[in-house]
Symmetry: C2
Subunit: 127 residues, 2 copies
DNA sequence: CCCATTCATCGACAAATGTCAATCTATGCG
DNA sequence: CGCATAGATTGACATTTGTCGATGAATGGG
């Protein structure tokens, strides 16, 4: 079970835990193991894709449509950004596994990947 | 009810919704309103603070301690980063409202802010 | 076949970010 | 007081990131 869709990355196990070798001097006792460095990097990549106002708005706009689908023109109408910039953000979100793209005719339609946001949300409180 | 502790920012309402003026040409129908630009920026700030492997590991290490408390030396032992860099990341997490700092003697102890991570996690799937 | 439309890609640029070495500030101990 | 230790700050640097204008690729219509 992976904690989030990561199409262009290796499938990260759910917090596989690091070594519990404590041996600190001033430190307090360790209750459980922390996140593995590789998983921290994978999760950080997902969060980095989300950590932008424009991209959050894009996800929200796509999700707010009845069919959970939106084309680029839906976004250029609302966002105060150039069309290339919006395309760039869309690419980031697709690469990170939060959106899918399907081209029909001249238009590109973007959809939310079900559970992608939830996957990230599920891991966070467990840190 | 705010969606996440944001000590140095204004208190953002929970997805206060933008205008539902659709009027698009190619676009599909709108089911509900999207996130407000100001809230997107606030949420992005929180996510930006989390979107770094070192900071995720720091949060996880602090949370993995039995008393949910750790000093800087606990982190310098484990992370392969210089002490100033770790102090920098700690400051970012404190400023974003995910950690609190309490100095006792020569040591600085950091604690997780209860519910801070959960607050972010709660909002994400609702986008 | 030519042109308009939709969107992606490229190149350039300024701003933000992560990192470290050097330094500064407390605090505790002889 | 003098020194050692823990940690924060500063300054510098390379890398990454967000943005745009210009251009390219594909599709549909007259």
């Amino acid at each position: 079970m992976t904690f989030v869709q990561q199409p262009l990355q290796s499938s990260p196990a759910l917090l596989p835990l690091t070594d519990v070798t404590d041996a600190a001097a001033c430190g307090s006792s360790v209750g459980r193991a922390a996140i593995a460095p590789a998983d921290a990097e994978a999760l950080a990549r997902s969060l980095k894709a989300l950590a932008d106002p424009a991209r959050l708005r894009i996800l929200s706009i796509v999700g707010s449509h009845l069919d959970a689908e939106a084309c680029v023109c839906d976004l250029t109408d609302v966002l105060t950004l150039s069309q290339p910039t919006i395309s760039h953000h869309l690419k980031v979100l697709v690469d990170a596994g939060f959106l899918t793209r399907s081209k029909r005719g001249t238009w590109s339609y973007y959809r939310l990947v079900p559970g992608a946001l939830g996957g990230v949300a599920q891991v966070l409180p467990g840190l």
